[in-house]
């Protein structure tokens, strides 16, 4: 402290340069700042109101809301609600299961596609493919769901039977009964197809930013495309690609309509991905909402809150990864 004080005697403190903005600018800045805060306000309100509505159910169920897997509303003879139990675990398992299948199938295809677009496709072919894949990212989930149900289901059922036939000794590929339609496997495939354009677009953007001088250095040392990509592009893009995959994961976990359409939503924990039963949190909300009484609506709000927080965390991690690794490299 003394040192600092001594110094301040010798060296003048920097002058503070202040400009008082004119009134019109003060108003302008105030309005823009308020508008800029809207995302904060909206996200805060979502968390707040879903908590308020879900509070009663969460208070009763406490932690068993996410650990138990029983979702029941029992009515007595007069049709009044006698007893209700709400546990989301089965649907949480289903959410993760379908989303992980989507990641495992979709991400390798997306990353290799991005490599193709960045380092193999050229000129107008590249432009066309990039536009086409970006367009696919804008397709509504309803379309993916119906296409999955009408077109993909038949082939996917056949693939599921093959998997079961040759890999059935692995527990998750076993089935309790030979029902291969509308399984988590098929929902996962539809979700994979939905996230491929998203993950491809992000990976491609990151690969495109790979510093040219490093790529040149590798080629000047006699590298082939493969060894250049391994030595330069992958170390540079790895974090961003993981971030892109997380973004895809968040999208897959929150998907409603497509999963509802292709999956046989049954309230049970089902680890056997080829068996036609399962669900996810979002599709449960859609399924139950129509005939839900006030009590169950509250429970669905609580389920919405859990889903909201889950996707928020996944998106936060993805955003951090993309921003940290997308800009600096290494």
């Amino acid at each position: 402290m003394t040192l600092l004080e001594n110094r301040s005697a010798a060296i003048p403190a920097p002058r503070e340069i202040t400009t008082k903005p004119r009134l019109s600018d003060q108003i302008f800045r105030a309005i823009v700042t308020v508008g800029g805060m809207s995302s904060l306000v909206i996200l805060g309100l979502i968390a707040l109101f879903l908590s308020i509505k879900g509070f009663n159910v969460l208070k009763v169920e406490q932690l068993s809301f996410i650990t138990e897997s029983k979702w029941e509303v029992l009515q007595d003879a007069e049709g009044k609600i006698a007893e209700s139990t709400f546990g989301l675990a089965a649907m949480l398992v289903g959410t993760f299961l379908a989303a992980f299948i989507a990641i495992i199938v979709g991400v390798p295809i997306a990353v290799l596609s991005a490599l193709y677009l960045t380092f193999y496709a050229r000129g107008s072919v590249k432009k066309f493919l990039v536009s086409l894949i970006d367009l696919m990212a804008a397709f509504p989930s309803l379309l993916f769901g119906f296409w999955g149900f009408i077109v993909l289901m038949g082939s996917a059922e056949y693939w599921a039977k093959l998997l079961n036939k040759y890999l059935g000794f692995i527990p998750i590929f076993d089935v309790p009964a030979p029902i291969f339609e509308r399984s988590p496997f098929i929902a996962g495939l539809v979700l994979a197809i939905m996230i491929i354009p998203i993950v491809t677009a992000i990976s491609r953007e990151i690969f495109d930013q790979t510093p040219l001088d490093r790529i040149q250095a590798a080629y000047a040392l006699g590298a082939s495309k493969l060894s250049m990509i391994r030595a330069v592009v992958i170390p540079y893009g790895r974090g961003g690609v993981v971030g892109g995959a997380m973004l895809g994961l968040g999208r897959a976990m929150g998907e409603t309509v497509a999963v509802y359409t292709v999956l046989n939503v049954v309230y049970q924990i089902n680890w056997q991905v080829l068996f036609g039963a399962g669900g996810n949190v979002a599709s449960l909300i859609l399924l139950k909402f129509g005939e839900a009484g006030p009590d169950e609506v509250d429970a669905l709000m609580a389920a919405g809150l859990v889903l909201f927080l889950l996707t928020l965390v996944v998106n936060a991690i993805s955003d951090i990864l993309i921003n940290t690794f997308g800009k600096k490299g290494r």
Binding site: R122, P211, R214, A220, L221, A223, A231, P235, Y236, R330
Partner: protein
């Protein structure tokens, strides 16, 4: 920069030991025959024929945009890295056209190494890994990588500075050290020819001096072609100098001669104007 007169540059050039082609058994070196280069429709380089005798240092000088860097990049086929690039003519390495059909471009780049303007070590690799990265990239098998690592760093004049920190990342070095690391990296694949594209333009005078020392050392065992904006550097390090110029059209090679002659008695008026600092 201090004022340069032809005579002072010529004396610099005369003071250094002159290497004479043919006295060194390093193969027949590199020759180009009528090289033209284009980017899209733009003709950027016209009809350059030059010989780089084995074991000599040749400097390519000339004002910006005269095509000297483009020419340098045709010598190890980095020219085609730019999508719209095109070319005509022949580049002969040991008598073989490196652009002949069926030539493996990666093999050419192993024989003709390159050092870039900006130091570009691989940031994800350590210093040691950087030096040996060429082996991994070109998938060459070498025993005794420790010896190779040491000899490359010694030849690049960096060994004493980094021998205790080989497992640190390349980015921790100073700019000049990074550039010498890049030179060491090029040496690890044992090229016959080393191309240098303004290797000192991003460096301070001290680092520049160290790099020039390194170049003189390396010239004992390989052929070096260096593009430089700095005429004093050309005078200090090169045996031969080629002057490039563009009058708005494609760049041409105006004159080539032993360095001392270029700086003392150039045949072409434009060369004289340039080396005396009347333009450029």
């Amino acid at each position: 920069m201090q004022a340069t007169t032809p005579s002072s540059l010529a004396s610099v050039a005369n003071n250094r030991e002159q290497r004479v082609p043919g006295t060194n058994l390093l193969g027949t070196g590199l020759e180009t025959r009528g090289v033209h280069a284009w980017f899209g429709k733009k003709h950027v380089l016209s009809d350059v024929s030059l010989d780089f005798a084995a074991g000599t240092v040749t400097a390519l000088i000339g004002p910006s945009g005269c095509g000297k860097s483009t020419y340098l990049r045709t010598l190890n086929r980095m020219h085609e890295f730019i999508p719209t690039a095109a070319l005509a003519g022949e580049v002969l390495l040991d008598g073989q056209d490196i652009y002949a059909a069926g030539t493996d471009v990666t093999k050419i780049r192993l024989k003709v190494g390159m050092v870039f303007q900006k130091p570009n070590p691989f940031p994800s690799m350590t210093i040691g890994e950087n030096v040996l990265s060429g082996l991994k990239l070109a998938q060459l098998k070498k025993s005794n990588t420790d010896e190779l690592l040491e000899s490359c760093l010694v030849r690049a004049g960096l060994w004493s500075e980094v021998k205790d920190r080989l497992s640190e990342h390349g980015g921790a070095l100073s700019g000049g050290q990074q550039q010498r690391l890049c030179i060491a990296r090029s040496l690890a694949v044992e090229p016959q020819v080393l191309l240098m594209d303004e290797p000192c333009s991003a460096l301070d005078p001290g680092s520049t001096f160290r790099i020039e020392e390194t170049i003189s050392e390396l010239a004992k065992s390989m052929t070096i072609v260096i593009v430089t904006h700095n005429m004093q550097q050309a005078a200090r390090v090169s045996d031969y100098t080629a002057f490039f110029l563009s009058d708005g059209g494609p760049g041409v090679m105006v004159e080539t001669a032993p360095t001392s002659k270029i700086f003392s008695s150039p045949t072409d008026k434009r060369t004289e104007d340039y080396v005396t600092g009347r333009f450029g």
